[in-house]
C-alpha cells in the first residue's frame, strides 16, 4: 500500500511551522505519485513486451501507437474536461459518429471536398450537441451520467431514424477524408520500406495544447476545477454554472466531432453503428490517468499516460502471448488498482481529519 505517512504528516503542520514547505511538496505529489505509478506500470509493461519481441522497441511501433491512439486521446481530452467539473459524459461516441456522418454527407452534398470544411462542420455539430447536454444538465440539475446515457440513445436514434443513416464505404467517401486517414507527416526509411508518422499527430497535438490551455490558462478552465472541487463555493464566488457547463460540454462535443472524422478517415468507412459501446474504455483511461469522478482533479498529462497504457494493451497483448480479447480485463484491473490506491489514501486522510464522508 502507498505510504500513509504522507497523509499524516500534513496534520502536524498545525502545531509546528518549520519544514512546512518540504512536507507540502511531499503532499503535492499526491496526484503526481499516482502518475509516477502509472508511468512505472507502462515502463514495466513495455519491458515485458520488448523481452518477448525485441523489435517492439522501434520507431515503427511508436508511430503505430500514436496513430492508433490519436483519435481516442483526442476524445478522452474532452471527457477529461467534463470529468474535472465533476460530471461524466457517455454520449461522446454517439456524438462523434453523428458529427462525422453529417460532416461526410454535407461534404459530399455540397461538393466542397475539403478536410478543413469537414472538420469545421463536424466540430460545430459536435459542439452543438454537447451544448445541449450542458444545457439540460444545468437547467434541471440532473445527474450527468444518466442524462448523457439518455442523450446517447437520443443521438443514435436521430442518426439512424431521422437521418436514416447508411454505411458509407471508402469508395463513396470524400477523397479528402480518405487521404486524411493515410497521409503521413514525414517518413523514415525502415528496413525494406518506409515508416511514416501519421498526420493524425497534428490534431492530437492541437487538442492537447488547446485542452491544456483551456484548463490551465483560462478563467473558465479554472472555474471548471473550482466547480469540481467545491460546487457551492464556486457558486458563491459568482461562477456562472450554466456558462461553464455549456462551454465544457460543447468543448467535449467539438473534440468528439474531431475524433469522429479521424475515426472514419482511419477505418475508411462511415458506419453509423460503430464506436458506440466503447465509451467506458475511454472513461477508464481518463480515470487511470488520475482524474477523479467527483471532479476537481485530473490533468492532460494524466490522460496521455492513461491513454498510452490503454492503447499499449490494445495493440500488444498478442505480443506477450495473450489474445487481444483480454485487453478489457487488464484495463479494468489497472483501473481498479489505481482507483483503490488513491481512494484508500483519501479515505484514511479524511478519517484522520474527522471527515466521515467516504466511509
Amino acid at each position: 500500500m502507498m505510504p500513509q505517512g504522507n497523509g499524516k504528516t500534513a496534520e502536524t503542520g498545525e502545531t509546528n511551522k518549520t519544514g512546512l514547505l518540504p512536507r507540502l511538496l511531499g503532499q503535492g505529489i499526491g496526484h503526481q505519485s499516482g502518475l509516477s505509478l502509472l508511468a512505472f506500470l507502462i515502463i514495466v509493461y513495455v519491458i515485458m513486451v520488448a523481452l518477448r519481441s525485441p523489435d517492439f522497441l522501434s520507431l515503427a511501433s511508436l508511430f503505430d501507437l500514436i496513430r492508433s491512439g490519436a483519435a481516442w486521446t483526442v476524445v478522452a481530452l474532452g471527457v477529461l474536461v467534463v470529468m474535472v467539473s465533476g460530471g461524466i459524459d457517455v454520449s461522446f461516441l454517439a456524438n462523434a459518429i453523428l458529427s462525422a456522418y453529417v460532416a461526410t454527407m454535407i461534404t459530399k452534398w455540397t461538393g466542397l471536398d475539403s478536410l478543413v470544411f469537414a472538420l469545421v462542420v463536424a466540430m460545430a455539430l459536435g459542439a452543438f450537441v454537447g451544448a445541449i447536454n450542458g444545457l439540460i444538465i444545468s437547467l434541471f440539475s440532473l445527474p450527468t451520467l444518466i442524462t448523457t446515457l439518455a442523450m446517447q440513445g437520443v443521438i443514435q436514434g436521430v442518426l439512424m431514424v431521422f437521418l436514416d443513416a447508411r454505411p458509407i464505404t471508402a469508395g463513396n467517401m470524400p477523397v479528402s477524408l480518405r487521404y486524411f486517414g493515410t497521409d503521413v507527416l514525414f517518413e523514415f526509411p525502415d528496413g525494406p520500406g518506409y515508416v511514416g508518422l501519421s498526420v493524425f499527430v497534428v490534431p492530437l497535438v492541437l487538442a492537447v495544447v488547446a485542452t491544456w490551455y483551456l484548463l490551465n490558462r483560462t478563467a473558465i478552465g479554472r472555474a471548471t476545477y473550482a466547480i469540481g472541487s467545491n460546487r457551492l463555493a464556486a457558486l458563491r464566488c459568482g461562477v456562472n454554472l450554466l456558462k461553464v457547463n455549456l462551454v465544457i460540454y460543447a468543448y467535449a462535443g467539438a473534440l468528439a466531432g474531431l475524433m469522429g472524422v479521424m475515426m472514419v478517415s482511419d477505418i475508411r468507412l462511415v458506419d453509423p453503428v460503430t464506436l458506440v459501446g466503447n465509451e467506458l474504455i475511454v472513461l477508464a483511461a481518463v480515470v487511470i490517468g488520475g482524474a477523479k469522478l467527483s471532479g476537481g482533479a485530473g490533468s492532460v498529462s494524466g490522460v496521455l499516460l492513461g491513454m498510452t497504457l490503454v492503447t499499449l494493451l490494445n495493440n500488444t497483448l498478442v505480443t506477450i502471448g495473450l489474445s487481444a480479447s483480454w485487453n478489457r480485463f487488464f484495463i479494468g484491473c489497472a483501473l481498479v488498482l489505481i482507483a483503490s490506491i488513491s481512494h484508500y489514501r483519501t479515505k484514511m486522510r479524511n478519517l484522520r481529519q474527522l471527515n466521515f464522508e467516504n466511509v
Binding site: 461524466i88 439540460i136 434541471f140 440539475s141 440532473l142 445527474p143 451520467l145 444518466i146 442524462t147 446515457l149 439518455a150 442523450m151 446517447q152 440513445g153 437520443v154 443514435q156 436514434g157 436521430v158 442518426l159 439512424m160 431514424v161 459501446g277 467506458l280 474504455i281 472513461l283 477508464a284 480515470v287 469522478l293 467527483s294 495473450l322 489474445s323 480479447s325 483480454w326 485487453n327 478489457r328 480485463f329 487488464f330 484495463i331 479494468g332 484491473c333 483501473l335 481498479v336 482507483a339 483503490s340 481512494h343 484508500y344 483519501t346 479515505k347 466521515f356 464522508e357 467516504n358 466511509v359
Partner: protein, 367 residues
C-alpha cells in the same frame, strides 16, 4: 399539547384530504408512473388495438420480460444505497458463459448425465454471480471507491475475463431440457420463468421493506454519515446488497442463455441503459434512499409492452433507444419540477407549524 394540530389549520386539513396521504416525492413519482402507464397503454390500444391486445401477444410480453426484470431489479437495488451497478450485464454474461461451458462439456455430461449437469451449471453460474457481487461490495466497502467507479472497473474486468475465456466467440448448443425450462409454462399460460421473476420480486421487496438489512440499506442511501453515527451495520449491508445484485444478474444470465441457446460477452448490452431507465422511471432515486423496488416490475412490463408494440409497428432498435432516452430525460425533468413543488409544500407546512408552536412556547420579545 398533541391536540394543537387538530385546530391549528382547519383549512389545511380539508384540502389535504384530497391529496395522497403523504405528499412526498416517493408518492408523487409513483403517481406519475401509474399515470404514465395508463397513458401509454391507452396509446398502444388506440394505435394497435387487438394487434397488441390479444392473449398470444400478451403472453409473449411476459415471456420476454424475465431477464430484463431481474437486471432492472439489480440496478434498482444498487440505487437504494445511492450506488449504481454497471457490471450487471457483464456478470450475467460471465455467469452464462460458465454455465454454457459446463453444459456443453462432453466429459461432464457423460459423467453426470444431463439433469445433474444442468443443476451443477446453474449452481456454478449463481456462484459466479455471488462472487462477482461480493468482489464489488468488498472494493466499495474496503477502499471507499465510489460504486460508479468500482463497477465501471469491475465491469471491464468481468467482461474482459469472459472475452478472454471464450476468445469473444459464442458458446451454443445447450441441452434440450435446459432450453425447454424457459419456454415452458405454468397451466399452459404463464411462462415459468416469469413465475420465477414474480417470486424473486415479491421475496426481495418484502425482505428489503421489512428487514433490518433493508431498512439499513435505505438509511445508508439517505445519509451514510448519519448511518455510521447511528451504529447501523454498514459493511455487511452493502456487501449483501451488491452480492444480491450479482446473484440476480447471474440468474438473468441463465435465462438469457436458455432463451438464445447461446452465450457470449455483449449479449444484452442494451439492457444497461434500459435497466437504469426502468429504475429511475420506477421512482428509484439515483442519489439513494428512496424508491420502492416493487414498482420496478410494472415499469418493466410497461417498457416491454412498448417494446413489443414497437416491434409490431416494426420500428428499428435505434428508434426504441431514442424513445427510451427521450423518455428518461422527460421523466427526470418532470421530477425536477415536482420536487420543487414538494419542497415548497413542506416549507409552508413547517412554517405554519412553527408559528403555531412559537405562539405557545416563546417568551415575548424584548422591547
Amino acid at each position: 399539547m398533541d391536540g394543537e394540530y387538530n385546530n391549528s389549520s382547519p383549512l389545511g386539513a380539508s384540502w389535504r384530504r384530497f391529496l395522497p396521504a403523504r405528499m412526498d416525492e416517493e408518492g408523487l413519482s409513483q403517481s406519475v408512473l401509474y399515470a404514465m402507464i395508463a397513458c401509454v397503454l391507452a396509446l398502444i390500444f388506440l394505435s394497435l388495438g387487438t394487434a397488441f391486445f390479444n392473449p398470444t401477444n400478451l403472453v409473449s410480453v411476459l415471456q420476454q420480460t424475465p431477464e430484463f426484470a431481474l437486471l432492472s431489479l439489480a440496478m434498482g437495488l444498487s440505487m437504494v444505497s445511492g450506488g449504481i451497478d454497471l457490471s450487471i450485464i457483464a456478470v450475467a454474461n460471465l455467469a452464462g458463459i460458465f454455465a454454457a461451458r459446463l453444459m456443453t462439456s462432453e466429459p461432464v455430461l457423460a459423467a453426470l448425465g444431463p439433469d445433474a449437469t444442468i443443476g451443477l451449471a446453474c449452481l456454478v453460474a449463481l456462484a459466479v454471480g455471488v462472487c462477482a457481487g461480493l468482489l464489488n461490495g468488498i472494493i466499495i466497502v474496503r477502499f471507499g471507491i465510489p460504486p460508479l467507479l468500482t463497477t465501471l472497473g469491475s465491469m471491464m474486468v468481468f467482461a474482459g475475463f469472459g472475452t478472454g475465456l471464450t476468445g469473444g466467440a459464442g458458446i451454443t448448443g445447450m441441452p434440450e431440457a435446459y432450453v425447454n425450462v424457459v419456454s415452458s409454462s405454468l397451466f399452459g399460460v404463464i411462462p415459468k420463468s416469469f413465475c420465477l421473476v414474480l417470486v424473486v420480486f415479491v421475496v426481495i421487496s418484502f425482505v428489503v421493506n421489512n428487514s433490518v438489512f433493508g431498512k439499513s440499506l435505505y438509511l445508508y442511501g439517505e445519509n451514510k454519515v448519519a448511518a455510521l453515527f447511528g451504529g447501523l451495520r454498514l459493511e455487511s449491508t452493502i456487501l449483501i446488497s451488491y452480492t444480491v445484485c450479482g446473484a440476480l444478474a447471474s440468474l438473468a444470465g441463465l435465462i438469457m442463455l436458455a432463451r438464445f441457446n447461446s452465450m457470449k460477452v455483449g449479449f444484452g448490452d442494451a439492457f444497461q441503459l434500459q435497466a437504469i431507465l426502468v429504475a429511475v422511471l420506477a421512482g428509484m432515486d439515483p442519489d439513494g434512499g428512496r424508491g420502492r423496488l416493487l414498482n420496478i416490475l410494472p415499469t418493466v412490463l410497461l417498457l416491454q409492452c412498448v417494446e413489443n408494440a414497437f416491434t409490431i409497428a416494426s420500428l428499428s432498435p435505434f428508434a426504441k433507444k431514442m424513445i427510451w432516452g427521450a423518455l428518461l430525460l422527460v421523466f427526470m425533468a418532470l421530477n425536477f419540477f415536482f420536487r420543487r413543488i414538494v419542497v415548497r409544500h413542506l416549507t409552508a407546512l413547517a412554517i405554519r407549524r412553527q408559528q403555531a408552536s412559537l405562539g405557545v412556547d416563546a417568551p415575548p420579545l424584548a422591547r
